[in-house]
Amino acid sequence: MSNATATRTPGKATENIAVIRSWAAPVTYMVLGLVALVGFAIGSPNADARFRISDGSQKISVPDLVLGTTFVGWSGAVIMLGIAAYAFVLVRAGRKLARWMLPVFATVFVISFLVWVIGSATTPNVYLSGLIAGSFTLATPLIFGSLSGVLCERAGVVNIAIEGQLLAGAFCAAIVGSMTGSLVAGVLAAVIGSVLVSMVLAVFAIKYLVNQVIVGVVLNVLVAGLTSFLFSTVMIANPEKFNAPPSFEVIRIPFLADIPIFGPIFFNQTILGYGMYVAVFLVWFGLFKTRWGLRVRAVGEHPKAADTVGIKVNSLRFWNVVLAGVVAGIGGAFFTLVTSSSFNKEMTAGQGFIALAALIFGRWNPIGAFFAALLFGFSLNLSFVLTILGTPVPSQFMQMLPYAVTIFAVAGLVGKSKAPAADGEPYVKE
């Protein structure tokens, strides 16, 4: 019970602070620092890595960034080992690690790795703006998926079915978009498809009190099976009629889209891409600044408390799960109406689960989930780009990158994240 935690707070017991040393962080830093030393500094290909910022089509042209792998490798390794050593000193002295250490270390590591891997590639140059813009494109459905998770789990319903929602959305958008030739109809169909998945989740989780994780997993399998079946029976037979949806046009905002790096990200998107930023803001604002959000969070934390002040817990949960379906449906439509021009079997490829990881990594906060999804989108895109550039690292390893990052992130590398207290617990009135 929540009461037990309240009565046991050691907060006022004593002001004395003694030392408990944890060596996990300095050891991790040291290991990664040594990897950088051996791999990126000693193993430097002794070449230049070229990062192109403009591709010539923009009005503002910025010169390329050229970095020597040996210089970056060695200076990066020295900085990282320095941070590791400082971490050892701090822990030994029983002091807390400085807050800047993790972000600085991570940034230096990523830069060193990028410079090394590009420098070692057969074509040692990369279009940086494209790399970043591509990350945003890949992250967009992840972000919609995470928002769907946030909406469900903040209200206390675990949403493992993000994958299924995205896939149902992608399928419905493709088939209805193809048949009607209308983008609006495609998006609407995606929303309806995903909402149907949500409703099944909501009914079983809230009304019939079935274990929410199990319902979610079953839904994923169900949607994958159903869409694959329809794909191979209906779509393959007549792809022109059933699997040739129209695509959203990119809306380029004049002048602003020419800003190097940021232009393509913020001002050169499809309507769904712009919609993603709006959705992140709306969900954040709704959850933390409105009456609806206060009630949703209360229901997710302590449903009985919400009930005793007259809030209808289960109906609020139900509509939140439905709303989550709407958001995930738009994310699903993004697959077939923006990124790809047709539907393919299980085309979401586990991204719903990465969205789930982004939600946890982002601590059940829409803004946090946004950045986490971006990180995953970046590693996903990097693995594509590097495979094309021809790196010394086997492409299979590069393809593992986003998942490896996910594991690190969810394993609590950046501190423990705390789920809403009543997440996954059905509310039953006595």
């Binding site: 707070t9 017991a13 004593t14 409105t290 005793t308 007259g310």
Partner: protein, 514 residues
């Protein structure tokens, strides 16, 4: 405003929790509902608050019948309730908790907490609550959380305020403060319904007392009635409120704690170099306000905590560094403070719960097999011996009332020969009749030559049981004093004054109720 419950009956299946109960509550009164745990007081109030629907009967406000479909309706009718387990969202601020369900909003449902904050400050100032609207609830002490609950009701203009066992989680000082608050509320015209089984508090505060036993009103009592009379009415037979125990016969000092320190994961010092020892045949009771290291002390002895330093020895054997199982097997009996989470497994049967500490040993097991027949026989014996009210040994422990769960835990822990017995809050939430019985069992365990360590935040209980009293304050041992030390001295020590300071102060200040 006059609130009347007329012929309220509430049945759960075959079980009648409330049987034609009539109660009239009027403004400017403190009306106590006195009854043992499981007598049906909380059920009655949940009916009144719209959480349960009555099987029969009527609720009347100012002689007009009303019907509540949920707590929202009850609140709209001017009824507020402070639940035994607080209905507060721990990660919300005070203002958010108070606003919840009753929010002031701008256009588009945008929250506006300013008005709520102002209301909280106003009420807080009027009654001297000292509540900061922007504090996070989880950071607040239990007593303050309770005031937040009261504010929640007052903000909604409650004319009737129901307090369900409000003192169960409070320290003696906090209890006194709460009683004062209740007096103020009464004087300002609120009807206060006080649900309790604690005779002293009921006598101190009530204008009217209604006694409930086994779901029925058994009578009204006068606040001037003696505690013994009230107890007899409540339990249905005469009970002894004082414990008769002989002077202890001390044996060898077999349990020694030396320089025991415990750190929290954050590095906070929870226990600071504690040293004490307990002899065979002696009860050492630990007094202190909740959260001063008592929990950590018992858990450190049981091997449940990390970051423990110093020495804990039993019969010359060191306990620190051993597993919980080894410690149990070396003859330590342990009654944890929170029975529902740490004491019993709710989904297991009573019979299974009764052997949790010895299920893998003879006579309950033979090799890999458990012996259900032996367990059943054991359960039947313990159920009679400890008077556990259950539908049978096969009932899930979670279906028992709190007091009966506690009896199951005590029965289990006292059912084998012990070298040390530790009981944390041994009678929390247990009814008067059972407290007497459990206390006698603890003393019997002492008399059989076991060192006994009692931890209790109820000063009454400490004074009643202890041969010696150890007072903890902020993780430090303030002192160990004889069992007959006056309450006011103990009260001062619980606030951190040393033994000598406490004695001189209490001499000059005169008697203060502890």
């Amino acid at each position: 405003m006059k609130l009347e419950l007329r012929g309220i009956t509430k049945r759960f299946g075959n079980f009648t929790a409330n049987d034609h109960i009539d109660v009239i509550v009027e403004s400017g009164q403190v009306h106590s509902l006195l009854g043992e745990n499981g007598a049906g007081k909380s059920t009655l109030m949940n009916v009144l608050f719209g959480l349960y629907e009555a099987t029969e009967g009527q609720i009347l406000i100012d002689d007009k019948p009303v019907k509540f479909n949920g707590p929202g309706d009850a609140m709209a009718a001017g009824i507020g309730m402070v639940h035994q387990h607080f209905m507060l969202v721990p990660v919300f601020t005070v203002a958010e908790n108070v606003a919840l369900g009753n929010e002031d909003t701008g256009p588009g449902g945008i929250l506006n907490l300013e008005k709520t904050r102002a209301r909280i400050r106003e009420i807080s100032d009027r009654y001297g609550f000292g509540v900061d609207p922007d504090a996070l609830v989880e950071d607040l002490p239990v007593g303050v959380q309770q005031r937040v609950e009261i504010i929640k009701a007052l903000v909604r203009n409650a004319k009737v305020l129901i307090l369900d066992e409000p003192t169960a989680v409070l320290t003696p000082q906090e209890t006194d403060e709460l009683l004062n608050i209740m007096r103020q509320l009464r004087d300002s015209g609120t009807a206060v319904v006080f649900i309790s089984h604690k005779l002293r508090e009921v006598k101190a505060i009530s204008d009217v007392i209604t006694v409930i036993r086994r779901g029925k009103v058994v009578g009204k009592a006068d606040p001037g009635a003696s505690a013994a009379e009230l107890a007899a009415l409540m339990v249905g037979r005469s009970v002894s409120l004082t414990l008769d125990k002989d002077a202890p016969t001390l044996g060898a000092e077999t349990f020694k704690v030396t320089d025991l320190s415990v750190l929290a994961d954050t590095g906070q010092l929870l226990l600071d170099s504690l040293s004490f020892s307990i002899s065979q045949g002696e009860i050492l009771a630990v007094a202190g306000v909740q959260g001063n290291g008592q929990t950590e002390l018992t858990e450190a002895i049981m091997g449940l905590l990390d970051h423990v330093s110093g020495s804990i020895s039993l019969d010359g054997k060191e306990l620190i560094g051993r597993s919980v199982k080894q410690i149990i097997n070396s003859g330590v009996g342990f009654v944890p403070e929170d029975r529902s989470t740490d004491g019993v497994i709710g989904t297991f049967t009573v019979a299974e719960n009764l052997v949790l500490n010895q299920y893998d040993k003879a006579p309950f097991a033979h090799g890999m097999n458990m012996k259900p027949a032996v367990m059943l026989k054991n359960a039947l014996k313990k159920i009679t011996e400890f008077d556990v009210r259950t539908q049978g040994p096969d009932a899930a422990a979670g279906t028992l009332s709190g007091g009966n769960q506690q009896k199951v835990v005590m029965a289990r822990e006292l059912s084998r020969p012990l070298k040390l017995f530790i009981a944390s809050q041994p009678t929390r939430g247990v009814d008067v009749g059972s407290i007497e019985f459990l206390h006698r069992r603890i003393v019997a365990e002492r008399d059989s030559g076991t060192p006994v360590l009692i931890v209790s935040t109820e000063l009454d209980e400490v004074v009643e049981l202890a041969d010696r009293i150890a007072v903890l304050y902020k993780g430090k041992l303030v002192g160990i004093v004889p069992g007959d030390t006056p309450r006011d001295v103990l009260g001062l020590m619980m606030a951190g004054a040393s033994n000598e300071e406490a004695e001189t102060q209490s001499g000059t200040e005169g008697k203060e109720p502890a």
